[in-house]
Symmetry: none
Subunit: 223 residues, 2 copies
DNA sequence: AGGCTAGCTGAGGGCCATCTGAGGGCCGCC
DNA sequence: GGCGGCCCTCAGATGGCCCTCAGCTAGCCT
């Protein structure tokens, strides 16, 4: 779940965003001042920050500068009532990615937030336990060791990594990886599971649930 | 010198931007339609695109989509007279970074352009491993040795260098380098890959992922 | 304990994605 | 008009990957 930090001294704004963004599935923190916002960001780094330009105490631009110094990649969305050309120029100069003018429609803000997160998300790799799978480079690592997979093996593992700890039946996998136009035996799934297990090494991450399917899960010790 | 491509059917806009941005030290191309814009972008990839949402013929959003498919990193600044929430939402959905509403102050547009370009840092010379590609001088070096490439070879390598370690499918390359109006066999990609590999020499930097595509990557040493 | 069935495994055949060398046609330049 | 460079096509060779198969193992039920 993505974390969003909202820094604004206007309670009607923070309350609106807290409710609206929570409803959209984000984990929302709010701070009424720059100092408080920076403290929260330091404790639990958010995935994105919505920052009011006009703040009591520490200036919004100063907060932006400090957030950036801690994480130059962090997406920050500026929020403000002022709409002069000078402000915009200055904010962009400090490296804000985007700028929304109050009053705004919630959907517009949401769309921009999602656009920012998507930009970031697309490049990021999937992780589970000590496994890392990068869809862009088509690479897989177990710890620091690279695991070289063929096209099908990769697609199979990718399917598991997108929904770890969820049981996937053989017919589901057949559909997801081989496509619904495949008419062979489900034994092919077993064959490729074995192949994957072998390449990924120990300890085993793909467990068999007899009569049900397979699941990507760390073997919990003693149960 | 940074290249900016302006796609807009309104001559007063293109003329204004051509003069204004040239004065600021940019190299400006303009296109009155989406088709023409895409063609220019394919021939000489710009550093940033200013794109009108309302275009005759090919829709602005469609142009955006195609520009993005060729280079996901390319900064695109949408420009439009419409200012409805729906448009903004849709444009962000397609991955526009920014949005400027007509009429605009030139300084605001300029500030946003500069902010985008700064984020992207120097595009002037692309590097990967011991490869260097300079889009301005159209030169390529492998280590200290210059590699002389033809126009197509250069565009192909350029496409790879803009997104190193990312898998590019043959159909993607066909689209990005040859254009979507090419109807020949994908074998042409294989032929040019071979040609590039030969000219670039060893160790091989363009790897084949059978059934998936090609990727610019140093062969990870056996681990 | 024994039987049944789901799942595991090793080997191998064949197909097709990719590689490769050769060559034809077009265009700009001399 | 001739020449050279570049783009594209084609067809044969290669071998990696996908899939099958048959025998084996092991969980589960009676």
């Amino acid at each position: 779940m993505k974390r969003i930090l909202v820094i604004d001294d206007d309670p009607s704004i923070t309350s609106l965003l807290r409710r609206g963004l929570s409803y959209e599935g984000f984990q929302v923190s709010t701070a009424p001042s720059g100092e408080e916002g920076l403290r929260l960001a330091r404790e639990t780094p958010p995935d994105l920050v919505v920052l009011d330009l006009m703040l009591p105490g520490l200036d919004g631009l100063e907060v932006l500068r400090r957030l950036r110094s801690a994480d130059p990649q962090l997406p920050v969305l500026m929020l403000t009532a002022r709409d002069t050309a000078e402000d915009q120029i200055q904010a962009f100069g400090f490296g804000a990615e985007d700028y929304v003018v109050k009053p705004f429609r919630f959907e517009v803000l949401l769309a921009r937030i999602q656009a920012r997160l998507r930009q970031r998300q697309a490049r990021s790799e999937l992780r589970y336990a000590d496994l890392r799978l990068n869809p862009e480079s088509h690479q897989v690592f177990r710890g620091s060791r690279e695991v070289v997979l063929t096209g099908l093996e990769f697609r199979l593992l990718h399917t598991f990594m997108r929904q770890p700890e969820r049981v996937l039946s053989k017919s589901f996998l057949l559909d997801a990886v081989w496509g619904s136009d495949f008419f062979g035996d489900t034994n092919i799934v077993e064959v490729y599971i074995k192949q994957l297990r072998q390449k990924l090494g120990e300890p085993r991450l793909i467990q068999t649930l007899r009569g049900v399917g397979y699941v990507l899960r760390e073997k919990s010790p003693g149960r």
